[in-house]
Symmetry: C2
Subunit: 152 residues, 2 copies
């Protein structure tokens, strides 16, 4: 299945500012991509959580490296929620994503800002206490979006 | 399903040097993670390919940013090919990955080196000619591993 050119144009002009390279040939490619990016981000965020919650030994170098992955990948999923990507592959994305674009965008941006401004500096500080303090607000910024925009 | 502690220990001591945080609770988590990382890497590598092959307009800033994603993510999948992760979820991984660990490791390392030493500098150079020159060898380093270790 190929998207018609008009839809590709619409994707480029979506509410999220998309670089020219951010187009996906098919909705299922976009869905697979965003799920993949969120899986990578979630895996590394969980590792930080295990350290913050005492379920894994604190390793300052690993924490810093893990947070670098979270920070980079935190920017990636959003380009793949363009118009027409609400179906095409199994997805937990709720229709509210496309009905309440401003709110969704706000949640996504708050998460990215929390990661960049709280989680990453804390993980690079070498202090477990700082990591613990940053983990909760970051997890809350994930949850705030999941609660409204992800199917249970 | 939970892995027995002995298998988790085996995963930690796998041929690939794993950080303490690189354990996966279940084989299916490892498979999902590596597929996700490879999907993210492949998406960004394809964007560079589209520019290199004249199928998308050359955008020097986008090329540099795309290559940064490829370079970071190129290091991530390999930790998730530990012992016992040959099944647990649909996977294109061939048994040869675990039977020919040294060869698989060599292929993975060559790809990472090609990305770091050829693709990334070329993408950051601002020169489309350099990107074109680096794209082929990098694609070959992907293919060399896929040919032997990925099911058709």
């Amino acid at each position: 299945m190929n998207l018609p050119a008009t839809l590709l144009l619409a994707v480029s002009a979506a509410a999220f500012t998309l670089p020219a390279s951010a187009q996906f040939a098919k909705p299922e490619d976009a869905i697979k991509f965003r799920q993949s990016a969120l899986t990578v981000m979630g895996t590394y965020f969980s590792r930080l959580g295990a350290m913050a919650n005492g379920k894994a030994p604190y390793d300052a170098a690993a924490a810093a490296a893990d947070a670098e992955v979270v920070a980079m990948v935190s920017h990636l999923p959003w380009q793949a929620f363009g118009p027409g990507t609400d179906k095409g592959r199994e997805t937990a994305a709720r229709p509210e994503i496309w009905q309440e674009q401003a709110k969704f965008k706000d949640r996504a941006e708050k998460m990215q800002a929390t990661v960049a401004e709280k989680l990453l500096p804390a993980a690079k500080s070498g202090s477990l206490e700082q990591l613990k303090a940053a983990f909760g607000p970051t997890a809350q910024s994930c949850k705030a979006c999941h609660d409204d925009f992800r199917r249970k």
